[in-house]
């Protein structure tokens, strides 16, 4: 990972914001900027150097992991230590990560600093850098996607009428661990029958009915990077309405994928999916956005939603995941991860998108 380059780009961003320092407190952002993975850390990022604050539990780990930064082991809380550094560096304006720092922390920090030090709210400074993936990150994400995709076979074996949704999740997660996943990237979704119409139907104790869709949405973490994939299968023979619903989602996903290329906006991609669903009259049942970035976090920038102007760039990794949820009947979602290229995209997920009937 190019920590030096990341720190340089962060310094440029601070320069653009006229900040002397940024207190990076969101753990994933700390990891991105310097490689440290401990749970208690503040990174004081400045124009020339970064200082990593953590506590004694992590002394060994910080020295082993953190790249190109000075490590300071605080004896007590980290914010007083960070305030000392800001004072020593004669900081005039320091940024905080306003989307992550709780109000109470800001109040503590404010109380520790002289009035002349300005605290400025920033949003998405490190997140902007994280959108563009380096080659090593794309490689990690590719490995994570491939590991995740291998779990689909396990799920297909587990899904049958009468088995509880959490039973399917158990098999899938066990296989993930055995294949070497660090963790699941999020709570596995297994939503069967009428529950498949709940876009956020975490696996429940409900048994899989004799007939209907089963939405499976899962992801793993490998070397810190997340995978995210959804497949919808049908238990029993689907009627023509069910088949039509599935094909409509598949076509919407295809249309959105074809809209992906460097220079397209997030809104362009989202619109492609919605327009495709209008042909089949199902657009009103597509109630969420079309996709999102994936990296160290399962949901990161850019979001691919209605009317969003963010332009895609080569090297972004996003999901494309339209869904159609007919209340009281059932839902279909198909989700793959892909890498944006200059001329289009490369789909990373190797799994078939044909409708599988069990």
């Amino acid at each position: 990972m190019d920590y030096t380059g990341r720190q340089q780009r962060l310094a440029q961003a601070l320069d653009g914001l006229k900040l002397d320092a940024l207190l990076v407190t969101h753990a994933v952002n700390v990891r991105y900027v310097c490689g440290f993975t401990g749970s208690n850390a503040v990174l004081v990022a400045g124009p020339r150097r970064c200082i990593l604050l953590t506590d004694g539990r992590y002394a060994e780990q910080a020295n082993a992991e953190a790249q190109n930064v000075r490590v300071v082991i605080a004896r007590g809380a980290l914010l007083p230590e960070a305030a000392k550094i800001l004072k020593k560096q004669r900081t005039a304006a320091a940024g905080i990560e306003a989307e992550h720092m709780p109000v109470a922390q800001r109040s503590i920090l404010r109380g520790l600093l002289p009035k002349k030090v300005r605290l400025r709210e920033t949003t998405g400074v490190v997140e902007q850098l994280r959108m563009m993936k380096e080659a090593a990150e794309i490689s990690n994400l590719r490995q994570s996607v491939l590991l995740g995709a291998r779990l689909f076979d396990t799920a297909l074996e587990a899904v049958r009428p009468g088995v509880r949704e959490i039973g399917v999740a158990a098999e899938l997660e066990y296989a993930a661990r055995r294949l070497g996943a660090e963790a699941m990237a999020f709570d596995t979704i297994v939503a069967a029958g009428r529950r498949s119409a709940l876009p956020h139907g975490r696996a429940s104790a409900a048994p899989i009915p004799a007939r209907g869709f089963v939405v499976l949405d899962w992801g793993v973490k490998l070397a810190g990077y997340c995978s995210d994939q959804t497949r919808t299968v049908h238990v029993g023979t689907p009627d023509s309405e069910m088949r039509g619903q599935y094909m409509a989602v598949r076509e919407a996903q295809q249309a959105a994928m074809e809209a992906v290329r460097a220079g397209a906006t997030a809104g362009d991609v989202d619109r492609a999916a919605r327009q495709a669903l209008q042909h089949s009259g199902l657009a009103r049942y597509f109630t969420h956005s079309t996709g999102h970035g994936v990296g160290l976090e399962i949901h990161e920038a850019p979001r691919l939603g209605k009317g969003l102007h963010e332009r895609l760039r080569a090297g972004m990794i996003v999901t494309i995941e339209p869904g159609v949820y007919v209340p009281g009947k059932g839902g279909v979602r198909i989700e793959d991860m892909l890498c944006v290229t200059e001329t289009g995209c490369e789909v990373l997920t190797p799994t078939t998108r044909e409708l599988i009937t069990l």
Copy 2:
């Protein structure tokens, strides 16, 4: 669950704080106050009634789960809706949960409200209520602890030299799911050999060595309530130093348990564990606090740490978990959950605390 009682106690707390309303934004606190488990919610708690705001995805779920509140489905973001309610109610002073609300959210909210509405930072208002468990909560926690404890046998079968730590975690988590756990309560810790000296050693790809301690720390969620348990086993025959270390931790745990009763302070319990370790000269290797509350969250109030004045009350559920970590050698931690009673405590964890050699 006594949602009506909780809402009454919350109203009393607001009265004591001279607040007209509290915006409850921490999801677990929303669940505690009204029963709603969706991920996107703001509860506007007032002296006479509570209003729950969520989005369209959760309409059905909110109406099914939320008790004794008015449900409002917002079309867009929730904070503008909350601001409308505060204005309509002519609120003079509204509290925010300062430990949970990010700075950026507060700024948005501030911008939506007239200047005359004061926003006051509160900490731990709902958390204070959550410390005292109701009978139904204790029953849920008991079930969760019993389910969690059943996983120890699985772990004992899995632990052997050469097996990777994550392999042990995989077996344990699979068994948890099969027994009906909703989820693990936290990342399972399996730390073997020298790694057992890392108090926060999440399961890694490292193989279990031929000889040494293995610290196993795991918990499950059942009906929303967490369990938390640690056992340390020894692979191969322990030498007398290892045995001594184990016995010292066991005695420290016993001493701390004997110090638990309604009226004792958190610091009293912590001191009992530390004093016991002084006899064996190992107190300097006990680098964390003695325990913490457990409920809907794995770590909640009260914390049982050095010099803390919080008084225990009957109906609190806490862990007692002293540990001794000798760098470069190995660590031992033993952790059980117990319920504070008027005269002492009831240990909920049914697992033996004898040293098991594998």
